[in-house]
Symmetry: C2
Amino acid sequence: MAFTEFRPLDDKSLLEYIKATPSLSSKIGNKFDALTIKEVGDGNLNFVYIVVGSSGSFVIKQALPYVRCIGESWPMTKERAYFEALALKEHGQLCPDHVPEVYHFDRTMSLIGMRYLEPPHIILRKGLIAGIKYPLLAEHMSEFMAKTLFYTSLLYRTTTEHKRNVAEFCGNVELCRLTEQVVFSDPYKVSKFNHWTSPYLDRDAEAVREDNTLKLEVAGLKSMFCERAQALIHGDLHTGSVMDTPNSTQVIDPEFAFYRPMGFDIGAFVGNLILAFFAQDGHAHEGNDRKEYKEWIWRTIEETWTLFHKKFTALWHQHRDGSGEAYLPEIYNKPELQ
Amino acid sequence: MAFTEFRPLDDKSLLEYIKATPSLSSKIGNKFDALTIKEVGDGNLNFVYIVVGSSGSFVIKQALPYVRCIGESWPMTKERAYFEALALKEHGQLCPDHVPEVYHFDRTMSLIGMRYLEPPHIILRKGLIAGIKYPLLAEHMSEFMAKTLFYTSLLYRTTTEHKRNVAEFCGNVELCRLTEQVVFSDPYKVSKFNHWTSPYLDRDAEAVREDNTLKLEVAGLKSMFCERAQALIHGDLHTGSVMDTPNSTQVIDPEFAFYRPMGFDIGAFVGNLILAFFAQDGHAHEGNDRKEYKEWIWRTIEETWTLFHKKFTALWHQHRDGSGEAYLPEIYNKPELQ
Ligand SMILES: Nc1ncnc2c1ncn2[C@@H]1O[C@H](COP(=O)(O)OP(=O)(O)O)[C@@H](O)[C@H]1O
Ligand SMILES: Nc1ncnc2c1ncn2[C@@H]1O[C@H](COP(=O)(O)OP(=O)(O)O)[C@@H](O)[C@H]1O
Ligand SMILES: [Mg+2]
Ligand SMILES: [Mg+2]
Ligand SMILES: [Mg+2]
Ligand SMILES: [Mg+2]
Ligand SMILES: [Mg+2]
């Protein structure tokens, strides 16, 4: 069974695929007897298989040419897997502590093999619902954002490297368009895919659609999102793209990666923490009013920003004589300008 | 004599080239007897040959792999001719009245054949020095800028087309870098290629180098120049890139074309008119104090902006229900938002 052209995998063909792929089979010590393969499938777009053997494990993520949670009626290029693999590798180089290692990539099959983030890793969004504290979350996420955003910006890079990368990621246009639609357009008009808690929030949803000041503000942000190639952003950095234990923070799923304003990542992550903060009241019950947990979330929001600011400016200072072309040392490295 | 690989032309080999190229030889009715070939060579970067026969004419522009006015010590990709040809053709489609027609392009030879802008066309900068009035200049240049900038922006285009074009023009990185250097960096530091009227302006040049407020402002503009893909700009729209008669305005030399902030073109053109305004005192003599001419320049500056604003917003209004994705009709086409 050869895999020379694209086809969607299932448990059976995945096993064949693994056997035919040394970079994967070696990860499980080439032992196929006690292998378990389980599709996780709680993501919105793709298929994720967890593969665990007696002496190793990995995860296989495959992109099909449509949006999983909608179905074949919403086609979406499977080339997104290529950009996800590119971004995972680049993030992994820049911040190896917080990104799962990529073991294998197959462009024809739109398939990535990567480290299995084993339990107790869970999706951060689920942890926030369960009320689990992650004392290192702000530290780790500020580290991830500071490193990935700084090192891919013109504060570190030459414009030559920058344009080469921007040109490459321009191929990820369909995923950008999805964000343009669901973040910058759909909420401000009547749209098939909008949903909210109806009828309770009907008036609020309508108020957003009717708020002209907000809509003009959003148009400015959308222009920047479409036009400004500031740094390689993750592009989908909500709490569903982070897997955590109290000691470990891992950022997954950068298939929306593109050169865009840095604020989009920082805002997505912090914005999702703010949502989690307000959602706590809904999770409160007699034994736990979630008051203390809300305080922890609030502190985490503050610390994420403070630490991000500190780490980012420290990287900038550290590389102030480097090859970044936004602020040339000869012009800007003067005590009065620091 | 075949031209299967790049070589710099001279009068003799150019004649062979024309004979071997139907799209050129047909322009002069395939008559090679009374042909005159003259290199103009008042540009900074490239070689321009004017070819005039008894029944037709054209211009040949060739890029050599270095900067002409400096010499081989400043290498510069000859691929710039490819981007110049791309931009000339795109500008020509969007604004045919003000762009010379492209007859021929040869990527291997980095060579463009285009309409000869015959006398009395002269370079606008020379006209401004000679004190010639161009009553239609503001009308024509505002037309050129409004059309080329509007139709290549997200006010008219989809983000899919936009990204495809941005990716293509990312190849023109070397020319962008030249602008980054000579416009956004060199003036603010001591640099080999800076020159000014010394010693008279020594203090002024130094003041620019020491002005920290200005330099921080310029850093912001440079970031936008390097990062923001707003529209396909000409990129070198000074008065040396415009050829004029009192009835005709033709924009040449877009080899610096790239997706950048629109303001860079508008500012370059208006800024050069402002320079010309202040330079008039140096051209004044007993018979002509240039006072009236200065007033004409001033009016032209005002009109260029007023007409640009008017034409640009008219295009926007005209295409408000079109496929441009910056302001979706469903969200923004409401009377209160016009
Ligand atoms: N490396 C991994 N280790 C363990 N679980 C993973 C890994 N990658 C993904 N998952 C699981 O699969 C789910 C979907 O993955 P994700 O990359 O977010 O896909 P999608 O692009 O469809 O959103 C995640 O929510 C998580 O539960
Ligand atoms: N189409 C044309 N018709 C007539 N003269 C031209 C034409 N194109 C260029 N020239 C002449 O050649 C000179 C240099 O051309 P230009 O395109 O500005 O080259 P460069 O890129 O070297 O600045 C112009 O200043 C003008 O005098
Ligand atoms: Mg996901
Ligand atoms: Mg995803
Ligand atoms: Mg020129
Ligand atoms: Mg860009
Ligand atoms: Mg030029």
